[in-house]
């Protein structure tokens, strides 16, 4: 089966700064994929390349079978996107904004505009000027624009930004429904990390223009559940001993080290450390149980320094 979105070795530089380097991944229909990364990591550049706003220097991007280059519109018919902020004409009403957008696509009639307006819960104020909308309402209008032409790939930059908790839940439920029941491919970038945990099936982590993690969200979280914190008396050999034994990243944190390790591995690990003359003072499940901390761990992770 063809993926909804395939990115192959995409790279883009602005001047001497490499914004995105050699990124490859795919997004499948029927799932919500989260794109996670600190500011300036290249999330937006990546999304701009997918939506045809920016041309990749090299590599290729496909929406199903159609290639997206800067000016080939074919693939873009299937994309609904909000890039960075929901953009709208403040001097036009919400309705006219949607009408404007509908004319950029084929096959969107007034009935569909009405339908989407109700869907995002803007019916009451759709004929007011968009300039008077709150951030939350702008998000809803942005989502309405993205959904208007029934896209099969939905790309949203921080979709819950500015929404109240009820609104966030509503949008989250709706996005998951779109993916799981209507088989859309949804790609969401967000800084609300706890939100990603509840929303996404798959996770991409990007930092300094490169992908550092791709895989299912549940696997990502499972690793997190098996995270251990270890404190020892000072020992120069510890990092190498630990890293060699664990074969996973070991990260310095507070006065000790954090790494992935299942509970049943702990006795053997301790034996190993004792054998190498490391005097352990504490070992416990790591307290970084939220995705936020995991995110910081992953993105700051310079490993052992």
């Amino acid at each position: 089966m063809t993926s909804a979105l395939t990115v192959k070795n995409a790279a883009k530089s602005f001047g001497n700064t490499a914004a995105v380097q050699n990124v490859s991944f795919s997004v499948e229909s029927g799932s919500v994929t989260g794109l996670l990364g600190p500011n300036g990591a290249g999330k937006t550049t990546l999304i701009r390349m997918i939506t045809g706003l920016v041309r990749p220097d090299s590599g290729s991007i496909f929406i199903y079978d159609s290639k997206v280059t800067g000016s080939s519109p074919e693939g873009r018919k299937k994309i609904g996107a909000v890039v960075e902020n929901p953009e709208m004409y403040s001097y036009l009403s919400g309705w006219k904004n949607l009408l404007h957008f509908s004319r950029l696509h084929s096959g969107v009639d007034k009935k569909r505009i009405q339908e989407v307006t109700e869907l995002v819960g803007l019916s009451g104020r759709i004929h007011e000027k968009a300039g008077t909308y709150s951030l939350g309402m702008r998000q809803r209008l942005g989502l309405a624009q993205a959904l208007l032409h029934r896209p099969s790939l939905l790309i949203l930059d921080e979709p819950t930004n500015g929404l109240d908790p009820a609104g966030i839940r509503e949008i989250r439920t709706y996005l998951r429904k779109l993916a799981h029941e209507e088989n859309l491919a949804v790609l969401v970038s967000s800084h609300l990390l706890s939100e990603m945990e509840l929303l996404c099936d798959e996770l991409l982590v990007i930092q300094q223009g490169s992908l550092t993690h791709t895989g299912s969200m549940s696997l990502f979280l499972e690793q997190e559940e098996n995270s251990m914190y270890l404190e020892t008396e000072p020992s120069p050999t510890l990092p190498s001993v630990l890293e060699h034994y664990m074969e996973t990243d070991v990260i310095k944190k507070e006065n000790g080290w954090v790494f992935t390790c299942r509970k049943e591995q702990v006795p053997d690990l301790l034996q190993h450390l004792v054998d190498h003359g490391v005097r352990v003072t504490e070992i416990r499940p790591s307290r970084s149980t939220t995705l936020e901390e995991k995110f910081l761990t992953v993105t700051e992770g310079g490993g052992l320094t």
């Binding site: 045809g52 873009r76 953009e87 001097y91 004319r103 950029l104």
Partner: protein
């Protein structure tokens, strides 16, 4: 494509500036006509004709002016009409009005500079560029909407001038034709055709400056410098050509050819300029400007 132009038009008519410009155009048409009516003595069509006859018989007149007056008065007497351009009547202001279209050009220059630049400023360019519409269509629809806006302002201006003429002088048509002495010959053009030609030429001139503003606004992604630069060219361009008229290259400057009305009246900026030459040079400049704009916009990375 029709849908895209509808979009641009919708955005245009929902901006306050658009209607302020229309109001100013109406106000200016009536205002200048009012002042003109107040400060100049009206000349009845019969008086204008007898003035021509006097000139024809006056010995103080230079021979070419006498010839002109003789031919014109002879033509009018034979056809039983009165000179339209020299007398005061309902069409007085609208006949002169085409020469004042530089005033309207200010508004189309502002709109033309803003039409792409403002989308970059507000970030809405992303909506357009991420849609399945090819980028050249986006630009073309914008240019079309601005051209339509210029046409609307021109028509409103002409109708207002005519309205003012009727208001101040009552409705009358002293002659169905506009009779002029051009290049040593009588030229008779029917009144509606004369209005069509003069306003049409003034409109083309207006569009050339609008295209300059559109180009600069698209290239700079910013309205203010595009407007400033275009207006400087609008008002300084002809001066520049005048100053440089001693040199051969002045002929190839755009502004030696933008003033199409003077060419129509037989007095081109540079003597001996033909219609074909002016049309060719204008076409060349406009092609270069629009070619550059479309090429740059086509290749542009949208990073606003």
């Amino acid at each position: 494509m029709i849908n895209l132009v509808k979009n641009e038009w919708m955005k245009l008519i929902h901006r306050r500036f658009t209607w302020i410009a229309v109001a100013l155009v109406v106000l200016a048409a009536f205002g200048t006509s009012y002042i003109s009516n107040a400060v100049t003595e009206p000349v009845a069509p019969e008086e204008a004709l007898s003035a021509l006859e006097q000139q024809a018989e006056s010995n103080e007149m230079p021979p070419e002016n006498r010839e002109r007056a003789e031919e014109l008065s002879f033509y009018h007497e034979n056809t039983g009409t009165y000179p339209l351009l020299e007398s005061t009547h309902a069409f007085t202001y609208v006949l002169e009005g085409a020469g004042s279209l530089a005033f309207i050009t200010m508004f189309t220059v502002i709109a033309g500079a803003a039409v792409t630049a403002s989308e970059h400023t507000t970030g809405t360019i992303k909506l357009l560029a991420a849609s399945p519409v090819a980028r050249w269509k986006i630009l073309l629809s914008k240019l079309s909407a601005i051209a339509a806006y210029g046409l609307l302002l021109t028509i409103v201006f002409a109708l207002s001038q005519l309205g003012a003429g009727i208001l101040f002088h009552g409705f009358s048509i002293p002659s169905p034709e506009v009779i002029q002495w051009v290049d040593g010959m009588i030229r008779a053009v029917s009144l509606p055709v004369y209005l069509g030609i003069t306003y049409g030429l003034a409109y083309v001139e207006m569009m050339i400056f609008t295209v300059i503003a559109f180009t600069l606004g698209t290239l700079f992604k910013s309205q203010a410098p595009a407007v400033a630069f275009s207006l400087v060219l609008l008002f300084m361009g002809p001066q520049l050509v005048f100053l440089a008229s001693a040199y051969d290259w002045a002929f190839y400057v755009l502004f030696a050819h933008t003033s199409l009305l003077t060419l129509f009246q037989g007095q081109p900026m540079i003597d001996g300029t033909s219609w074909w030459q002016s049309a060719g040079i204008l076409f060349l400049y406009v092609s270069i400007l629009l070619g550059t704009t479309f090429a740059v916009f086509h290749k542009r990375d949208i990073t606003d």
